[in-house]
Symmetry: C2
């Protein structure tokens, strides 16, 4: 099924490695709850959106829950879905650094109080930032 069944990266890519899934997750994290909400934020075609939401639900990244207001059902991230936050953030960091000209307008990350998050410390082991110069990957066994 996959090219490399033992690689966690490959499995993750198998789940979210398409054009829309991560953007749907991004919007869920930014507060999107309803079908139309997702549709308008992403601009994705309705049938594709329905398909992606199904796939994401099948992989347990999102679920539909009873809305606090009562009768509607809204989408919500599961724990597995929320765990993609680190992926979204690192993608965002990369995009900011390497996919924008200086001064180009861009959306920003804010905290609960609406304050712009100034800078993010990248993934680290212990306290030391991790770079590709210092690590590699090896198979099991």
């Amino acid at each position: 099924m996959w090219t490399d069944p033992e690689c966690p990266v490959a499995r993750a890519v198998d789940v979210v490695g398409d054009r829309w899934s991560l953007l749907i997750i991004r919007d869920a994290m930014a507060g999107a709850r309803s079908f139309t909400d997702f549709q308008q934020r992403t601009g994705i075609a309705r049938n594709i959106l329905a398909d992606r939401l199904r796939k994401l639900a099948a992989h347990d990244l999102i679920t539909q829950v009873e809305a606090p207001s009562g009768k509607r059902r809204v989408y919500a991230l599961t724990e597995a879905g929320k765990d993609l936050f680190a992926v979204i953030v690192t993608l965002r960091q990369w995009g900011e650094r390497h996919a924008f000209e200086a001064g180009e307008p861009r959306s920003v990350l804010v905290d609960e109080q609406g304050e712009v998050v100034p800078e993010l410390v990248p993934v680290a082991i212990g306290g030391a930032p991790l770079t590709s110069d210092t690590t590699s990957v090896r198979g099991p066994g």
Copy 2:
């Protein structure tokens, strides 16, 4: 061209949000240098691989450099390419947590000495780990 030109996540996905690019980057980080090298590790079709390598080079994630041995040219990650390391690692973490059964064999992350990296601290602001409960995203201006 993109659905959301102001979102760094969307731009990043536009560059690496397909089935193969991140796996090619992964393998470059793991030591892949030659065309055949990439082809065998990923299992990707040769024409598609050539296309992806071109695209990645066009976006300045990889380049071809003179091999130390002399006459061959090998692929190498640029700084922008190396900066994807955090993305790869967070994807890997997510895959480990949510795409494997307990006890299923998997590849692991090792450092230069070949030691298995025990645990990774996720993206953080200052010292506090970041979760999707505590942040959201807002447009510019």
